[in-house]
Every structure is written in structure tokens, then in C-alpha cells.
Amino acid sequence: MNETLIQTGWSFFLVLGAVGFGLKLAALLSWVERKQSALIQDRIGANRADIFGLRILGLFHIIADALKLMLKEDFIPPKALRPWHDIAPALSLGCSVLCLAALPFGDRIVFLGRAWSLQPLPLSAGILFALALLSLGVHGVVMAGACSGSAYSLLGGLRAAAQMISYEVAMLSILAGPLFLYGTLDLAEAVRSQAHMFHGVIPAWGIFFQPLAFLLFLCAGAAETKRAPFDLPEGESEIVGYFTEYSGMRFGMFMTNDFVETVLLSGLAVTLFLGGWHLPGLSGLPQPFLGLAQVAVFSAKVCAMLWLLMQLRWTLPRFRFDQLLSLGWKRLLPLSLLNLLVTAWALWWLS
């Protein structure tokens, strides 16, 4: 078997794995959201969907929801601009799923005499890739709002776009903090810089050295992905959003995009601030188990971050639009620049 065939096959497998990871977590997240919000609110949550009388804690609701969305009437508003109206959900979903492939699920493992990478897209500028795709996500939102043939959708789309653009600017300077600390844009290298113990006491994770950047990243990321307390554009039954003219699975793609972006946000936070696949004391394992353990540790950390984001959604009240924008421009941006200054000064002083 020649080398390129093996490498191509492995890359294919990795990409399928990453996409599957994202989409399956997104599907499970819809169940987790219902059950977690129910547990927080002292109720039971959805537990009625069953197949032949077997109800497993309501997990069949995921299938039931997907089937319902797929079987609904596909109504396209007559004034919609057809090609753009159809492309918008695909563009949004595609950008988030593509970005998932750049996350490092584990270190380079050496097995059977070859080096196998556990990062589907080995980019030397992973952080820039993530930021660029988040910016492309704005196109999907604006397209959906503007090409739906409805004034309410247009206004909702503009609101969402204004929110996303404000927080992208902040995101850039927030991410510059860890960039200074790790000295590289590569996500795999960033995790490797965190994969050791600091003087044997605490792991050298980003959250311990850049706590302000972690908080700001959570804030900006949640606002970027229209999640948690920043979900004004998709305020569900309260305000008309950019996806009101979509029905059936087109709307389902926007909802899936919401969950996939949440997974992406968690993945980026884990990679940059929580040490990625690193767990202190795990490097003693023999080879294929080390890779599996790293993927498991990464997944566990992503799940913990997802739990935290879900808790935040059901803890905090929604921000008003002017509060949202003033938070982004007047508080997040100066704080992130302050963080950058302090990091740069500290690194200069320590060298």
C-alpha cells in the first residue's frame, strides 16, 4: 500500500470523525438542552417520544424533531430571491462544520511505524481560520435576512449581523492574548504549549495564565454565535428573527447551526484555554490507547464546556440590543486591549 493512499484514507476518516463529532453532539445537545433546562427548573422535560413503548429518557425526541422538520411543507415566500434564500442555511451550517475540522483532537501519535495526526485540517494558522469562518457566518445570516422577501426578516438579519460584527472585532483582540502567550497561530501547537505542568503544581493551561481572556472569549464567542444571553436575533417567540420565512428542514439547518456553533465555541475554548487533549499524568500510556485517551479527554472537556454554556443560557436574562452593542464596543474591546497590554508587558518582563 503506498503512503499517499494511507494518508488520504486517514484524513478522510479524520474529517468524517470531526464532522460526525460535531453533528452528533449537536443532535444530542437538543436533548441535553431540554433535559438540562428541565432539571434547572425542577421539572421533568420531554419524555414522551417512544418507539414501540420504549422511552429512553426522551432521547427519541431528537429523531422525532428531525422527522417533523423533514416532513413539514417546504414553503418558500413568493418574494424570496431564490438562489440566495436557498443557499443561506447551507452557508451558515457549512462554515461552522468546516471550522470543527481544524480542532486538534489529540497529539501526533506514532503507531505501527508511522506518525498519525489527530487533527483533520493541519493548518499553521488555525486561529485565523476559525476567525475567518466565523466572519463568513455573517454572510449566511445577512443572506437569510435580506433574501427572505420580508421586512421583519431583513431587520432581524441586520440586527444579527450588527451583533456578530461587533463581537468579531473584540474576538480578534481577545484571541491575540493567547496568541502572544503561545507564540503561534497553529491550534495543535497551542495545545502542545499547554501540555506540561507549571513547576509541577498546576497544568500550564491558558485559563490559569489568561483568566481575563477566557472570560472575554466566552462572552464574545457566545455573542458571536448568538447563544446564551445574547440570543436577541433568535429570541424565539419574542422577536421576529432572520429565519422566520424558513420552514421545515431549512429552519432545522439554522437550529442545527446554532448547536454546531456552540460545539465549535466549546471546542475553541477547550483548545485555547483548557489545555485541549492534555490531562496531567496521562502520557505514560502505550500508543494507540494514548490517542484514544486524548480524544476522550478532549471530548470530556468539550462536554463540560457545553454544560457550562447551557447553564449560562438558563441562568442569565437576555441582553437588550443597545446593551449588547455597548458591551461589545465599550467594554469588551477596551478590556481585551488591556489584557493584550498586560500579556505583552508580562512576556517582555519575563524574557
Binding site: 438540562q36 428541565a38 432539571l39 434547572i40 425542577d42 421539572r43 447553564q311 449560562l312 441562568t315 442569565l316
Partner: protein, 164 residues
């Protein structure tokens, strides 16, 4: 607003503490219940169609017409309930009673349970204690409007005796 309130992080953490407390307590209770180690349900939710609805003892449900000791209905067709009903859902046709000491009896006594507002005035008006609303049956359903108009024979039956 104090400084800790302005920066909002402290308040977020306090809120997260409250919701996490609820989350883990309920998770613990539901898990113990699933494992069979706890008898009480984890949440106060009443899973209605599987579990019967809790009807308070004083709730006004479906009417029931009472019988005397010899099995005849107590109703003497005095029309007091028909007169006082605010929804005009009771229709009585009176006839002579074969017993001399009792003047009248109801030839037909019909209540339209779909029109009834379940106010209980007919119970308060009846001088013979012939009608009560203590059956506790609050789930009324039928396939047609006529199916909700019950006559004397049906109204005399207790809820668990069924209607044929």
C-alpha cells in the same frame, strides 16, 4: 450599583450557583429514582394522562341525581334549578307522580354538560337535595354535541357505574 454588581461577573457566579444547585439536586433525585433507591418522584410534575388528575374534594364536577330509598329519583320537578341556572342548560318536563304524597316527578331531566358552566347554583337551589356535583368527574368528552346532553338515567349513575 456597587462595583461588584457593575462588573456583573459576581452576579453571574451567584446565578450559576443557584441554577447549578437546582441542577445537581434534581439530577441526584432523578438518578436515585431511576435506580430504584428512592420512592418519591424527583419532580412535582404530574404526568397527567398516565397518572390521574388530582381533583379537590370540593371541586364541582359532573352532576349526579340522587335516588330515594325506594329507588325513585328524589327530583320533584319543582323547576328551581332550571330557573336559577345562568347558562340555561337544564331542561325538565314534569309529570304527575303516582304517589299521592309526592305531587310531581320529572318525566325527563336533561342537562347539556357542554353548555353548563359548573357554577353549582342548581345544587344550592334544590330543596330536595336531589342534585349534587360531588362526583369528582371533571373529564367530560363525547364524539357529538348530543353525546354531552345527559338525561336522568345517565345522571343518576355514579361515575364508576358506567353508562350503557
Amino acid at each position: 450599583m456597587g462595583f461588584s454588581e457593575r462588573i456583573y461577573i459576581v452576579e453571574i457566579l451567584r446565578g450559576l450557583w443557584v441554577t447549578s444547585r437546582h441542577f445537581f439536586t434534581n439530577l441526584f433525585r432523578h438518578s436515585l429514582r431511576l435506580l430504584g433507591l428512592r420512592a418519591e418522584p424527583g419532580a412535582v410534575t404530574l404526568q397527567y394522562p398516565d397518572v390521574p388528575a388530582r381533583v379537590p374534594p370540593r371541586a364541582r364536577g359532573r352532576h349526579r341525581l340522587l335516588l330515594r330509598d325506594d329507588g325513585t329519583p328524589r327530583c320533584v320537578a319543582c323547576m328551581l334549578c332550571e330557573t336559577i341556572c345562568p347558562a340555561s342548560c337544564i331542561r325538565i318536563i314534569a309529570e304527575e307522580s303516582p304517589d299521592i304524597s309526592i305531587e310531581k316527578r320529572a318525566k325527563s331531566f336533561e342537562i347539556d354538560l357542554g353548555v353548563c358552566v359548573y357554577c353549582g347554583y342548581c345544587v344550592e337551589a334544590c330543596p330536595e337535595d336531589a342534585i349534587r356535583m360531588d362526583s369528582g368527574q371533571v373529564e367530560m368528552c363525547a364524539y357529538t354535541r348530543e353525546g354531552l346532553r345527559w338525561n336522568l338515567r345517565e345522571l343518576s349513575k355514579l361515575p364508576d357505574q358506567g353508562i350503557n
